[in-house]
């Protein structure tokens, strides 16, 4: 029974599938490994991790097998990642290191997402970088420093002005409060006299108190004359 030849472990987490192979894998086990790997990568999954940390290959045929598996996985629009960290396997896959994605662990592959981006951005800037002559570089530096100092002085000056304005506002507000208190005191002083009817506001009772324009004034005059 071919299935009896190999130790294999499958850990299925939906999108992530880890297939681990164990033991010494030679020519005799090749067909069993091929059968199992082809069978397992055909199912659902986006990332297929093949953990080879505990496997040893005694024939070169497995490199070709993994290339076939890689093609199979790519047809399914998924990713194949080889997991191991020993030098022997690194040497075994040396020739195909640019074809396979090889990581030391699943965690390392997960973390590699950010570092990959950073690496790409680094390359981008590296390609666009420009070189300057020392004199020009010094004058640019002096200009930038002078510009920074000017900005600093302006900011400091504005800050001082703002402080003065705030002090004035505070003084005016306290003055306003004092006047309000004074008015309140005066109003309270004349309160009892107003109740007795002694104090009358004559400002609005004056003949022309409510008249603001000529038309109204003329109407007022005419009305007065008619009454008389």
């Amino acid at each position: 029974m071919r299935a009896d030849l190999i130790d294999i472990q499958v850990e299925d987490r939906g999108e992530e599938v880890e297939i681990s192979l164990y033991g010494i894998l030679g020519e005799y086990q090749l067909s069993a490994v091929r059968e199992k790997l082809e069978m397992l990568v055909r199912g659902p999954g986006v990332f297929f991790f093949v953990n080879l940390q505990n496997a040893r290959f005694t024939t070169d045929a497995y490199r070709a097998l993994f290339l076939e598996i890689l093609n199979l996985v790519k047809q399914q629009k998924a990713t194949l990642i080889l997991i191991f960290e020993n030098d022997e396997l690194r040497a075994y896959f040396e020739r195909y290191k640019n074809i396979f994605e090889i990581y030391r662990s699943r965690e390392e592959y997960r973390k590699s997402g950010l570092s990959k981006q950073v690496h790409l951005v680094g390359l981008h800037y590296e390609k666009r970088s420009i070189s300057l002559s020392p004199g020009f570089a010094v004058s640019v530096a002096l200009f930038l420093i002078g510009w920074a100092i000017t900005l600093f002085v302006i900011v400091v000056g504005q800050g001082r002005e703002i402080t003065d304005k705030q002090a004035q506002i505070t003084a005016l507000e306290s003055q306003k409060a004092r006047y309000i208190r004074e008015i309140d005191r005066l109003e309270s002083a004349i309160g009892p006299m107003r109740k007795l009817g002694v104090v009358q506001d004559t400002t609005l009772l004056s003949s022309f108190g409510a008249i603001q324009d000529w038309v109204t004034y003329l109407e007022y005059l005419e009305k007065n004359r008619r009454e008389k």
Partner: protein, 611 residues
């Protein structure tokens, strides 16, 4: 030398500790008795919880005055040769540290209540700073090629490590324990030339008997004017009696026959003990490969109790794995450790592991999700060898067979077309006749709905009057997040003859316990099964077994009307009568007349939930 391994009485630990303190008080009040004592970690822990400072001071004084010597060993008193080296060291160091912390004692001698010994232990013990180790006299006699009494101590050198071997006289110990008047003449044969004989006694684990035991011991020493000393003192005072080149001891009190040479014999003789051991090793290997530092130690804390000798004894009455209670406890410990490992590794989804799980040279499938795990033996009819439900921390395939065969679930058989009564059917199922248990080839098929294990092979059927050949496709469909699965069968008759029979599948479950009744429901109706007589129910479509004590509900649903057999499994007791309840046997089956080149299909859905 006194020893107490509380493994049989974990429930009464506090009561035992209180009485043990009383007993030690009796011993220390006698001025004539000096002895060595071994207590395992949980016992010392219980002692420190109940002891008053004055009593502990008294014990510490006795240790410093040489009246009492505490021996070291494994924290849970395991049989060390059965386990990986780093766990052996961990057990020894844990016990040593605890002894030092609680009693301020630094053990000089190593003791294991099972008295097992295998080559390679000298190195471990030397590294754990032990001077001498106690072993059975029979093992030393074997090593020396002698049958005469052996006393004193011997050196054993192994791979550059040296340890002093001190034989313990079982004959003398037995004579004194049984009040045999010939004890004095037996002792004399050991004590020639100024040597000492080491006698050892088990402190009873019944709390009410402990103080009385110490009283009798003191009385024996005082009445007979026996000169006693601690083992360490005796070893230091005596000259060596010689050297041993090879030592092996199968131990004592393990349920092994006298012909057994090593404690490993237990693993071969009893599949339940072997399963416990291999599950332990599987967890250890998985934990070792993915954990380190504090996480590894946390996992070990959960794993170490499963090394206790209780789970490696072929004994009755709560003393070994023949007791269903002990098996349930063993499963609880292992499943707890597995859950700790799941949590520490953030395990989710479904894992299928094809490996030689039982280390028997056969690859089998171990499937696991966070809710349950299954051990599927595709080389034996695609039957489940273990079925762990993590919710209730129990293995459902937990019954016991006196014939030494393992229990199974989903072990298929085709019974011949004869008229049988429930009792006759029970006998046929017990005898496991007409099984369809040839090896299957397997395929693992992953799909959106779950993972299928497809077992596909030809299976022969052989009865007195007929032979037949079937091609059976048996498919287990597991899910990544639930304790439920389906088993479906497609059976093709490959022969050009008609075959009549009853196709069914045997489940030997460690559910229910004696005294519980009315827990079996078929099609929602309580069938009021009395657990004594086997039950046969025709045309049921669902079966529910409620295990109130175990805390789980087991359900099976069938895709067509099914005959359901339910019967108890009884095993032998210590008095040899087959009365010990060892689980229940469930056998759903269908009348299946196979015409030539005919196909029949059946499907069973199974689930386990908490009560």
């Amino acid at each position: 030398m006194l020893q107490m391994s509380p493994s049989t009485s974990y429930e009464n630990l506090e009561a035992i500790a209180r009485n043990l303190l009383e007993g030690l008080n009796v011993l220390l009040n006698s001025e004539q008795l000096k002895c060595s004592i071994f207590l395992d970690g949980p016992m010392i822990e219980a002692l420190s919880n109940v002891a008053k400072p004055l009593m502990f001071g008294k014990i510490q004084n006795a240790i410093s005055n040489g009246v009492l010597e505490f021996l070291g060993g494994g924290y849970y008193d395991p049989m060390l040769p059965l386990f990986p080296e780093d766990l052996q060291m961990m057990q020894l160091e844990l016990h040593r540290d605890y002894l030092k912390k609680v009693l301020g004692a630094e053990p000089q001698g190593y003791f294991n209540s099972s008295l097992v010994w295998e080559p390679g232990m000298a190195d471990i013990l030397e590294r754990s700073r032990f001077d001498y180790a106690l072993v059975t006299e029979a093992a030393v006699q074997d090593a020396l090629g002698r049958s005469t009494p052996v006393s004193g101590w011997f050196t054993l050198e192994d791979r550059g490590s040296l340890i002093r071997i001190v034989p313990v006289s079982e004959t003398l110990s037995k004579a004194i324990a049984e009040d045999n008047l010939a004890w004095r003449s037996i002792a004399e044969s050991y004590c020639r030339g100024g040597k000492s004989a080491i006698a050892f006694f088990d402190i009873p684990s019944e709390p009410t008997e402990i103080v009385d035991f110490f009283g009798r011991l003191v009385d024996f020493v005082e009445t007979n004017e026996v000169q006693t000393r601690t083992v360490g003192f005796a070893v230091d005072q005596l000259e060596t009696s010689g050297s041993i080149s090879f030592l092996v001891s199968a131990g004592r009190n393990l349920g092994l026959p006298s012909t057994a040479r090593t404690c490993r014999e237990l693993l071969i003789r009893r599949p339940e003990i072997n399963l416990h051991h291999k599950t332990f090793l599987n967890l250890y290997r998985r934990g070792r490969s993915v954990l380190s530092g504090k996480k590894w130690l946390e996992f070990c804390r959960a794993l170490l109790p499963a090394m206790a000798p209780l789970f490696f004894r072929d004994l009755f009455n709560r003393s070994g794995m023949r007791s269903m209670m002990v098996r349930k406890r063993s499963n609880r410990l292992l499943i707890t450790a597995s859950q700790v490992l799941d949590n520490l590794t953030g395990f989710s989804g479904l894992r299928v592991d094809v490996c030689d799980y039982l280390l028997r040279g056969k690859k089998i499938l171990f499937c696991e999700n966070p809710e349950s795990s299954y051990l599927l033996d595709c080389r034996l009819g695609g039957a489940l060898r273990a079925w762990n439900y993590k919710g209730a921390k129990m293995n459902l395939v937990n019954s016991w067979r006196d014939d030494g065969e393992p229990s199974f679930a989903f072990l298929d058989c085709l019974l011949p077309n004869v008229d049988f009564t429930p009792v006759k059917l029970e006998q046929m199922l017990y005898d496991r006749k007409h099984l369809l248990a040839d090896p299957y080839d397997y395929r693992i098929l992953r799909s959106e709905s779950g993972t299928e294990i497809l077992l596909d092979e030809e299976q022969g059927f052989d009865s007195v009057e007929r032979k037949a050949l079937f091609r059976i496709k048996k498919v287990f469909t597991f899910q990544g997040d639930a304790a439920k699965f389906t088993v479906s069968y497609a059976i093709d008759n490959l022969a050009y003859v008609n075959t009549k029979g009853f196709f069914g599948t045997i489940l030997e479950l460690g559910l229910l316990s004696r005294g519980d009744v009315n827990k079996v429901l078929i099609d929602g109706n309580n069938v009021k099964w009395n657990m004594m007589e086997p039950l046969l129910y025709p045309d049921g479509q669902s079966l529910e077994i409620r295990d109130e004590k175990g805390g789980c509900v087991f359900r099976m649903a069938f895709d067509r009307p099914t005959s359901i057999f339910v019967g108890s499994i009884f095993g032998a007791t210590s008095s040899a009568a087959p009365q010990a309840f060892q689980g229940i046997r469930v056998f759903p089956f269908w009348n299946a007349p196979f015409n030539m080149l005919d196909r029949k299909a059946f499907k069973i859905s199974v689930s386990v939930t908490k009560r």
